[in-house]
Structures are given as C-alpha cells and as structure tokens.
C-alpha cells in the first residue's frame, strides 16, 4: 500500500463539475485506483476528516483542490490539505482563478444576502431572517462558517504547486496531468498543467483574417458564419485571450469562448488584455463613434473576467 500514491480530492466553493470531469475519464479512473490510494474524495470515495488531521504533514502525495475559497471553512480545509500534501494542485478554473463563483466579487456580500434572503419573488413575506455565523435556537447555539466579504482563488490562501485550468478541465487533460504525477514527470513549481502556452485561436478551425470592427453583435442577434472567426463577425469571443487546452468545444459549436482556461501563458490579467486587443481593432478614429461601437459590448467586464475576477489585478469591486 505504502508504495501507492496517496491522493486527496476535495472541493471548496465549486459545483462538482470538476469531480464529474474525473468520472468522465471513465475506465481511466480504475487505472488510477490501481496505482493510487484515494484517501479522500467526497464525491465517490469515503474518507474522514479526522483521519486527514491525523495524517503526518506531507503524508499525501497529491491534494487536488477544486472550487474557490468562499468561506472560512473552505480556507480551513485548504490550509489543512496544503500541510498534509507534498503537491497542492489547484484543480479547475475556480481553484485556479476563482471561477464563476468569483463573479460575486463584482457585487457585495450585503447584496448577496439581501437578494437571497430578503427580497426575491418567492421569499416568505415579512420573515426578515438572515442566516448568522452563530445563532441560538431553543437555547442551543448553532454555528455556520463565515461567509467572506469576497471570493479568493486557492493560491491567495495557500501555496499552490500546480494549476489545472478548465471549467471543468477536459478529461484528456486530466489524464495527462495525473499521469505526470504518477510518472513523477513534473514541470517546474507554479506551472499551469494540462493546457498549452498559446491561445485558443491556434486550435480553432475557423478561418482568420485581418480584423477591423465597425459593429458588435450579441450572439442571438446574428446567425454567424460557421467557418470564419466569430470576432471578425462582430461577435465577442474571448478565444484570442484564452489559453488553449479545452479542445475548442465552444467555438466549434458556434458559441463564443468565454475564457474558462484563463489567460495565455505569461499574461497577467486576462480581461485587461482582451480589452486592449478588442478596443485596438475598433474601426474608427472618432471618439463618439468609438464609444458607440463599444456600447455594443454590454457587461464587458463580466465577460472578460467571467472565470477570473478574483484572479484579476483588481480582484473585486470597490463600490462603497
């Protein structure tokens, strides 16, 4: 047993899609089971928190953490796993960049609670109760993890060795990454694994020409040509600013990339880079016309940082 790899898989503020991406490696999962002890994997295999605490520091070879860090509990487990594991892998876009839950950083904790518990179409009228970190019920105290002011990417709370992007990571890439661990063929610490250096366009079958944009369209406003670059047709696509590795599933199906694999190698801020590129090819020299053309991109921020507000330079909203 001891010579088998010791692995833990855990989710923070995630959706389970990352775990499903592991199941989607199908038969491969049996091979993994053959060479590794999965010591912890809530989705499919049992393990015990107390055991985790009882482990020697560094007893685990690999801890794959998916999901973002949304509350005190997520952080608590992240720290514990970090301590117990030789390799800490940020698995999937939430752990890597904050992911979709990270969009919460464009609003505020107060608004989230208000919307969820005080004002929506089906909330119990006049109850006015909001969940509390600590509450007394029939003289007993019940506690809940603290819901942080904002979402963090995993590397903001613990030291991360490798990053596996994707929402979720594509099974082929998952296999490749796991095999690297099994074979001990590991890239330098801090590397992004299971993805390429270059952007999506290189692997996108659509033909590309020089780009100049006079008008932007929302995807539902046009029947875009299936063979030419969506961006050239005025449909905002994040592929130009997104690391390849997903297999270009979205553009191949006619859907613009939303950037789940994160920025291309060496790019600091995916959204800022996308903005810089997109604006540069706006076809006008007149300030008003330029504003008019850019008005065709509602919620550009929510698009450019769809999977990575917490990983952006600005990280969160500063609205008072």
């Amino acid at each position: 047993m001891a010579d088998k790899l010791q692995i833990a898989i855990y989710w923070g503020a995630g959706c389970g899609g990352c775990d499903v991406s592991l199941l989607d490696t199908n038969e491969f999962i049996l091979d993994v089971a053959a060479v590794a002890d999965i010591r912890l994997w809530p989705i499919a295999v049992d393990g015990k928190y107390k055991d985790l605490e009882a482990m020697e520091d560094g007893e685990l070879d690999l801890a794959a953490f998916n999901g973002a860090v949304r509350n005190s509990e997520n952080e608590h487990i992240a720290r514990l796993l970090r301590r117990k594991s030789k390799i800490m892998l940020a698995y999937g876009s939430c752990a890597y960049m904050g992911g979709i839950p990270g969009l919460a950083n464009l609003t505020s904790r107060e608004k989230i609670f208000e919307t969820a518990y005080l004002k929506n179409a089906s909330i119990e009228w006049g109850n006015g109760v909001v969940p509390q970190p600590e509450s007394a019920v029939n003289g007993k105290t019940l506690d809940l993890p603290r819901f942080y002011r904002r979402v963090y990417r995993l590397s903001a709370v613990v030291d991360v060795d490798y990053f596996l992007p994707g929402c979720p990571p594509q099974p082929e890439q998952v296999k490749a990454a796991l095999l690297a661990v099994v074979k001990g063929e590991l890239p330098p610490k801090g590397s992004v694994v299971g993805a390429f250096e270059h952007a999506l366009c290189e692997d996108c079958p659509r033909t590309k020409n020089e780009k100049k944009i006079k008008k932007f369209y929302r995807p539902w406003q046009v029947a875009a040509d299936p063979d030419t670059c969506l961006l050239e047709q005025g449909v905002l696509c994040a592929g130009v600013a997104t690391r390849s590795g997903c297999g270009v599933r979205c553009p191949k199906s006619g859907i613009p990339c939303r950037g789940c694999y994160g920025p291309a190698a060496g790019v600091v801020d995916q959204g800022a880079k996308l903005a810089s590129a997109i604006a540069s090819i706006v076809d006008s020299k007149d300030p008003e016309e330029i504003e008019g053309i850019l008005a065709g991109l509602p919620d550009f921020t929510g698009f450019a940082y769809r999977y990575g507000v917490p990983a952006s330079l600005l990280q969160r909203s500063y609205r008072q």
């Binding site: 709370v157 800022a272 810089s276 604006a279 020299k285 550009f300 330079l313 600005l314 990280q315 609205r319």
Partner: protein, 144 residues
C-alpha cells in the same frame, strides 16, 4: 496634513514626455504628485498598466499622448483613444471612480498645458481622496 495623492503618469516619448521636459526647461512649476513613466507611444499602454498602478497604490493614473493626427507613429494615439472608454467602463464596474484615470493630448510644445493638466488632475484626485483599492484589500486580509 491634507491628503496628497500619488499619481502615475504614462507619457509618450515624442510629444508628451518632451512637453513635460519643456515645462521643465521653461521652469513652469506644477504639482509634484505625478511620477512619470515613459513609453514610446500611448499605443504601447495596455489597460493592464493602469490596473497594475491602481493595485500597487496609485490614487490616480494620467495618460498623455500626441494630439490626434500628430502621432509620431501616425496612428498610435488612436489605439489608446479606443482602449480608453473600455478601460473606464471596466474601472467603473470595479467601483473605481472614473476621474481617477485620465487621458490627455499634450504636444511637445505644450509645456504649460502639461503643467495645467497635472495641476487640475491632482486637484480632482485630491478631492476624491485616497484610492479605495489598497484599504479594501487590507480589510479583506483582516477578515481572514
């Protein structure tokens, strides 16, 4: 003591940086709050620079380039002109007051204008007060 903003200025080499030098050689005095970083052309300025400056503690960012039509590289400043509204929108979405970032055209002969722009921007940012970015990021750490 009243709040003195830190402002990072990105100036194009050919017009604005030379304009700033001219303000110097003409001994035109102006507010000391702007720290100038030279780039060859405003076309080199990536919104990333502005966001980087804001997260590193700048209270404001000033971008100066050649007047439209006068760009040393014929059209570089138009690229900045196009990025600017999108950048401002993004900053607004992040809850950062638009007045903290400003794009101005200053030619090599406009030393006085450069001084005026710096004074005016400094005054506006002074009125806005310290950037919310630094303080908020520190609060976040405290919560954890």
């Amino acid at each position: 003591m009243s709040f003195e903003p830190k402002i990072v200025g990105f100036l194009c080499n050919w017009c604005s940086y030379t304009g700033a030098d001219l303000a110097g050689t003409s001994r035109i005095h102006y507010a000391p709050n702007v720290r100038i970083i030279r780039v060859m052309c405003t076309a080199r300025i990536d919104p990333t620079f502005v966001m980087k400056a804001l997260t590193d503690g700048a209270d404001g960012v000033l971008i100066c380039g050649c007047h439209p039509g006068d760009c040393h590289y014929s059209e570089g400043n138009y690229k900045m002109m196009r990025r600017y509204p999108l950048l401002k929108q993004m900053l607004a979405d992040f809850g950062i007051e638009p007045a903290r970032v400003r794009l101005e055209w200053v030619s090599a002969s406009e030393g006085q204008r450069f001084a005026d722009v710096v004074n005016d921007m400094t005054q506006r940012v002074r009125e806005l007060g310290p950037s919310p970015v630094r303080t908020a990021l520190i609060q976040d750490m405290a919560e954890r």
